[in-house]
Amino acid sequence: MDINVAIQAAPFSMAYGYEDALAGRSDIGAVVTFTGLVRDFNETPDVTGLTLEHYPGMTEATLTDIGEQAWQRWSLQAVRIIHRVGYLIPGDPIVRVLVASAHRREAFEACDFIMDFLKTQAPFWKKEHSTQGEYWVKERHSDQQDAARWGRD
């Protein structure tokens, strides 16, 4: 299984994982990437930044496990997941998921699957800073529903 996960405070490049996942391979026919960014509106309209906390150790293990579950369900060639922690401002990329497969459908679905489970299982917590003060972000019911679409194992 070619799965790689990374957690870091520093910004990551928009090319993250691409070259390394594809190096020396010609059996990959589709690469799907998802990038999540910090919005300037969320629970309040004027978000100035957010602080992301995580549970070191468990975070990496959970993301690897989600990647492995995707690997079991679809025929994949590479999975790369990178997630930032610490202080971020609107416009900053928070997360990037890259999935490579022989065919596009598998890559699209696996990428969607990984994001749904990342949002509902990986131990990250966002505290938003806004012009009205700071608060911890609440879980969203829609995220739980999104994850439930895939059926529980």
Partner: protein, 265 residues
């Protein structure tokens, strides 16, 4: 304590240091410039168009320290006996850390000189790299320590970033202090930690009516009513970093974490 650069009428004024004793003064300041990983690689490989970036920034920092009095209105001109500017390339954080030390035997402190050296060294790094990266960010310019002078020594407390809830690596469980008797080590994370005002706790297995997560919650609530939060609001739990429910058993030396629903991505 009054601000020494204001006179009795509240106007800016240069402090007369003529009567102060000459003593050995030293100050260390630091800061950093965060950049894209590709920029940092070009910098460390010497691949940037303006040439040797660090050597240039070092000279700039030293020159700036000597000219601090020209920049900061009420600073005295000082005959510094030593100025050093050092750089550390941090690949993990994708930044260059800058540390400046200034020293002299004199009547006034040298913290403004050290801070100026760091600031100008960072600005020079920005100037040398801006052709390839405009998103660089100069941050955390601060006084780390100072020695000598009337107000005595100062040492900055090292502040831990709030994201640290443990120091484990992937697949590894951090070992804190071992319990004197069989017990579990508990962590409270994120909003739960803030609401409880508590980040860690030890609970002896003997305190548990049932040796599972449910029993642990009950024992904590008996210890202090604040811990009723664990059952009153939706709280998730992990044993040794694996998600667990109320029926999951706990054994000696387990790491149990309680936390709110996750909100990453």
């Amino acid at each position: 304590m009054p601000l020494t650069h204001l006179n009795m009428r509240g106007e800016a004024n240069m402090v007369d240091v003529g009567d102060k004793q000459e003593t050995r003064r030293e100050a260390i300041a630091s800061g950093r410039i965060v950049m894209q990983p590709e920029t940092l690689k070009l910098l460390s490989d010497g691949g940037l168009p303006k040439g040797d970036v660090l050597a240039t920034a070092r000279i700039a920092g030293i020159q700036a320290a000597k000219r601090t009095h020209e920049l900061i209105p009420l600073c005295h001109s000082l005959a510094l006996s030593k100025v050093s500017v050092e750089f550390e390339i941090d690949l993990a954080e994708s930044c260059v850390n800058v540390v400046a030390l200034c020293r002299l035997n004199g009547r006034t402190g040298v913290e403004m000189e050290a801070l100026t050296a760091v600031s100008v060294a960072c600005l020079t790094l920005y100037d040398m790299c801006k052709a390839v990266d405009k998103s660089m960010c100069i941050e955390a310019i601060q006084l780390d320590s100072k020695e000598g002078g009337q107000r005595g020594d100062y040492q900055r407390m090292s502040v831990q970033a709030p994201i640290v809830t443990g120091d484990g690596m992937a697949g590894e469980v951090s070992l804190g202090e071992r319990c004197p008797s069989p017990c579990v080590r508990i962590k409270f994370l994120a909003e739960l930690r803030e609401r409880l005002g508590e980040s860690e706790a030890l609970v002896s297995l003997d305190e548990l009516a049932s040796r599972d997560i449910g029993g642990l919650k009950t024992a904590l609530a008996q210890r202090d009513s604040r811990f009723k939060l664990l059952t009153e609001q939706r709280t998730l739990c992990a044993i040794n970093q694996v998600m667990a429910n109320d029926d999951a058993l706990v054994t000696d030396d387990d790491e149990v974490a309680f936390f709110p629903p996750v909100t990453g991505g």
